[in-house]
Symmetry: C2
Subunit: 164 residues, 2 copies
DNA sequence: GATTTACGTCAGTCATATTGACGTATATGC
DNA sequence: GCATATACGTCAATATGACTGACGTAAATC
């Protein structure tokens, strides 16, 4: 086991500490989705639409299969969400040039605008928390959360582009 | 604005940094719920049942209204979940002594056992991430996440008992 | 005694997700 | 070139989770 007691104080993990960690994650996620949910409701969209818009914006030209790997849902679930986003003109599909089987996904101008609106509150929330906590705390936040996600997801965070 | 640049390095927040923060939260939450979801499926339960079991275990004797305030869902949504948990013998309702209108919620022995199973993976996950990251990082994680939740939720984290 | 509070419930609706099966177009390997 | 694998779409059935709106009951409070 590496890096035990690396900090200034030894790490005694009581059940109470662990539960606090669980709850903070729950509350943060809950409050993190409140504002976007309200914006999505204007269009009759749900949280799933937000996730698709976010990751398509983050990885322009992402293929359906790669998006499925990020979201970890079935293609049937994604299809229904994607269908509406395309129908309403927020997402655009283009046939892949190198591999004609791929349907590459892009945000339209309207999609990019909606993405910005949806993410604005979340970005502001993160920025505020980061500034109030300070750079050292941000580094700690990143270290802990990175340790919490599975290897596969760890590789995916903060690496924009087409994917592997 | 307080506490800006409190750490060893000044805080320049690029869009990239903020998005990374958003994504880590998404992936952590996603991976955090995978294992419990599988256990819940054995009983035909969903994530909502886990949340109720967790918070009833955390606050034995909590009233329905207080639970609704934590979960931020409608009483109709809670009722359906609670009904099944009571019917299957995981949660128990007792009429309040001081105030006869309250239905106080408790886990049964089976409920406590299920709660332990459900939370085991999450606790292990947090514990591992905490140990690998070190005490300083944990303090940072807590600082940042605390800044992210709304005031109301902030007061609720890590304060077991009956509630206000 | 009237009002408020806490809780339960019926009814209808919608979004998100699942499994399973089938079809089509394209790429790849022998 | 043909067989197979891959990427994607779709139809169908089903379940959970959440909502709004309305109505009822019991207990506390003013």
């Amino acid at each position: 086991m590496t890096d035990v007691n690396r900090g200034s104080n030894p790490l005694f993990l009581r059940d109470e500490d662990l539960r606090e960690g669980i709850e903070m994650l729950f509350f943060a996620y809950r409050d993190f989705t409140t504002k976007p949910d309200a914006i999505l409701a204007e269009h009759g969209f749900g949280r799933a639409h937000h996730r698709v818009i976010y990751f398509v914006g983050r990885h322009p030209g992402i293929a359906v299969k790669e998006l499925l790997a990020i979201l970890k849902i079935t293609k049937q679930s994604l299809a229904r969400v994607l269908r509406r986003l395309v129908a309403k003109g927020f997402v655009e599909q283009r046939r892949g040039v190198e591999d004609g089987r791929h349907r590459l996904l892009f945000l339209t101008a309207a999609g990019a605008e909606l993405e910005a609106r949806l993410t604005a509150d979340q970005r502001a929330r993160i920025a505020r928390a980061y500034r109030e906590a300070g750079a050292d705390a941000v580094a700690g936040y990143r270290r802990v959360l990175t340790g919490m996600v599975d290897d596969e997801g760890r590789a995916r965070v903060g690496r924009p582009g087409r994917g592997p």
